[in-house]
């Protein structure tokens, strides 16, 4: 068993036990919960390296991300690819998502990558993020969008290419590609926060 600690938040007991069976040989599972309130409390207490969090459990996975993304890497679990909720979770600080049809090996890999700070970024999410920046650019043209290079990276991720392959295509290192993706996530996080602040100011919400 490795030293990485993992928390699992999902309201389906069968699913939790399946995930546990997959992860137990590789990680320390420090806790489980079936709702957002318990998850927030327990993640804050145990401070796991990675939290696997169902998007649609009672209380909402988004609330857990908002409360705990500062200190824990979040990988969202979802049954359907690329919902808007996923984008909201990523904008709130989640490092990526996996669909629930993911294989054991892929799930283990996703947790490892998330713990190392590497975005778990499926193609469908890249397309959603592209669309989001397009929306932001048309809503607020003066705001800082993504750079041309970042857009190139996103398109290649959306095409299903690995960071290494993208690096080869763009003549940069895989590490640089990865940092581009992290920057994109950071910008998404930031613009969302600015947008919320602006909305609150415009509508006089305290």
């Amino acid at each position: 068993v490795g030293s990485l600690t993992v928390f699992v938040a999902d309201d389906h007991p069968m699913w939790r036990s399946g995930v546990r069976a997959d992860l137990a040989p590789h990680f320390q599972i420090v806790g489980e919960s079936d709702n957002a309130t318990d998850a927030i409390r327990m993640i804050s207490e145990t401070r796991p390296d990675v939290a696997l969090c169902d998007l649609r459990m009672p209380g909402g996975g988004l609330a857990v991300v908002r409360a705990c993304a500062q200190h824990t890497a979040f990988v969202m679990l979802t049954v359907s690819e690329a919902e808007r909720d996923v984008l909201d979770a990523v904008a709130a600080g989640a490092i990526g998502y996996v669909t629930k049809t993911v294989s054991s090996a892929e799930l283990v890999d996703a947790v490892r990558r998330a713990a190392a700070g590497q975005p778990v970024f499926p193609p469908a999410l890249a397309m959603l993020v592209l669309g989001e920046f397009r929306r932001l650019a048309s809503a607020a043209p003066q705001s800082d969008g993504i750079t041309r290079r970042e857009r190139e990276v996103l398109v290649l991720v959306a095409q299903g290419r690995t960071y290494r392959q993208i690096g080869e295509e763009l003549f940069i290192s895989a590490k640089t590609v990865e940092s581009h993706v992290r920057n994109i996530l950071g910008k998404l996080h930031l613009t969302r926060r600015e947008e919320l602040a602006r909305y609150a100011a415009d509508h006089d919400i305290n």
Partner: protein
């Protein structure tokens, strides 16, 4: 708001029209007053008193009938026979001006039954629309001129006997009334149509919203339950046949939820999904389909060509690549054009040892060439492959 629309469906009358028809009942009652008052004040000098009484009775009776019908069956008021009957009666009221009060009165403002007749023109506008509303207005107002044909009655007041001359000053009020009635018929008809189409759009939008909401509700329920279970079966079933079945059901459900059964406007996304489903049925791997929502308005020929070429590229991957992940992507290219890529993580091949005019590659090239597009195939041994289809 849902209630009046619901009842509108029963009697075929829009809520706006019903409100207007009720208001017109009030206008008719008001319109009765000048008729009755004039007859009473000039009771001693009327040319044809019996006609006056008859007209007053008929107009009052009709007004009462309209008031009752507006309560019980408002839709009857806009039925063509009823409207024509009312228009004729209104015309008669205006013509009677000259026959009862004296033919010279034909050209004196205001007309005896102007207000009452206006109600009929307004109803015609609602019932028949702007053009026929205008015609009805002009016709009813023109009836007033018939009053000039009334023969002079012997016992009438000698003061008026020989002063009658038709000149501009006398003709103008009659003509302006015709113009007014025409404009009123036109305007009300137009406004009624406008309101009707607005109400129609509102009802349609509401029905659409409800359908979307119902579908979202179904989707949410299925996501929380059925799709979770199907995902679980796919991951954990020791029986590969059961897992395959779960994957198939999963796909069918998702396709239903996405509402792809839209044959009227074929979309690239749907066509690519169909190609991928066919592939999955044969090879058991589910490609991810990632399509830019901005892609729109492509010709069916181009969509067919891209989908068919994608299908062939996928089949090729299925036979030779031994891949575990496949992504089909469709997006825009700068400055114009659409690109579809089929990316796999299989064994790959050495492009220099694969003649570009052989077999599968050749037929894909042919398909794309037919729609003015290009094909580019890239691969490195042991590092997957990428097929890029581009169309202008």
């Amino acid at each position: 708001m849902a209630l009046p629309l619901g009842t509108a469906a029963i009697d075929g009358l829009r809520p706006g029209d019903r409100v207007l028809l009720r208001a017109l009942v009030g206008l008719r009652w008001v319109g009765l007053a000048p008729i009755a008052l004039t007859f009473w004040l000039r009771r001693d000098t009327l040319d044809r008193p019996i006609l006056a009484v008859l007209l007053a009775v008929v107009v009052s009776a009709f007004t009462v009938w309209v008031a009752l019908t507006a309560q019980s069956r408002p839709a009857r008021l806009v039925e063509p026979p009823v409207v024509l009957c009312e228009l004729t009666l209104s015309g008669a009221v205006l013509a009677a001006d000259g026959w009862i009060l004296g033919f010279d009165h034909t050209f004196d403002p205001p007309a005896l039954g102007a207000i009452w007749s206006l109600a009929a023109v307004l109803t015609a506008g609602v019932a028949f629309g702007p053009v026929l509303g205008a015609v009805a207005g002009a016709s009813v107002a023109s009836f007033r001129l018939l009053g000039a044909l009334a023969p002079v009655v012997e016992h009438r007041d000698p003061r008026f006997a020989d002063v009658f001359v038709v000149d501009d000053a006398r003709l103008l009020p009659a003509l302006s009334m015709i113009a007014l009635f025409t404009v009123v018929g036109l305007g009300v008809g137009y406004l009624s149509r406008l309101q009707r189409s607005a109400e129609h759009q509102l009802a349609e939008a509401r029905a659409h919203d409800e359908a979307v909401r119902a579908r979202e509700e179904v989707a949410r329920t299925l996501h929380d339950g059925v799709l979770q279970t199907l995902a679980l079966v796919q991951r954990q079933s020791p029986d590969p046949e059961l897992a395959r079945l779960a994957a198939q059901t999963d796909r069918d459900l998702r396709r239903y939820l996405a509402g792809t059964a839209n044959a009227a406007s074929p979309r690239l996304k749907d066509a690519l999904r169909v190609a991928c489903d066919t592939f999955t049925a044969h090879f058991g791997i589910t490609p991810q389909v990632v399509v830019d929502d901005l892609l729109d308005n492509m010709s069916p020929t181009t969509i067919d060509a891209l989908a068919a070429a994608t299908g062939e590229a996928l089949a090729n991957i299925g036979k030779h690549a031994n891949a575990s992940h496949i992504v089909v992507y469709a997006g825009r290219t700068d400055p114009r054009g659409t690109i579809v890529t089929i990316n796999d993580d299989g064994v790959g091949f050495d492009p220099s040892h694969t003649p570009s005019d052989r077999g599968i590659v050749k037929s894909v090239r042919k398909r794309m060439h037919d729609v003015g597009g290009t094909v580019d195939i890239r691969s490195t041994p042991h590092d997957g492959s990428q097929v890029r289809l581009w169309v202008p």
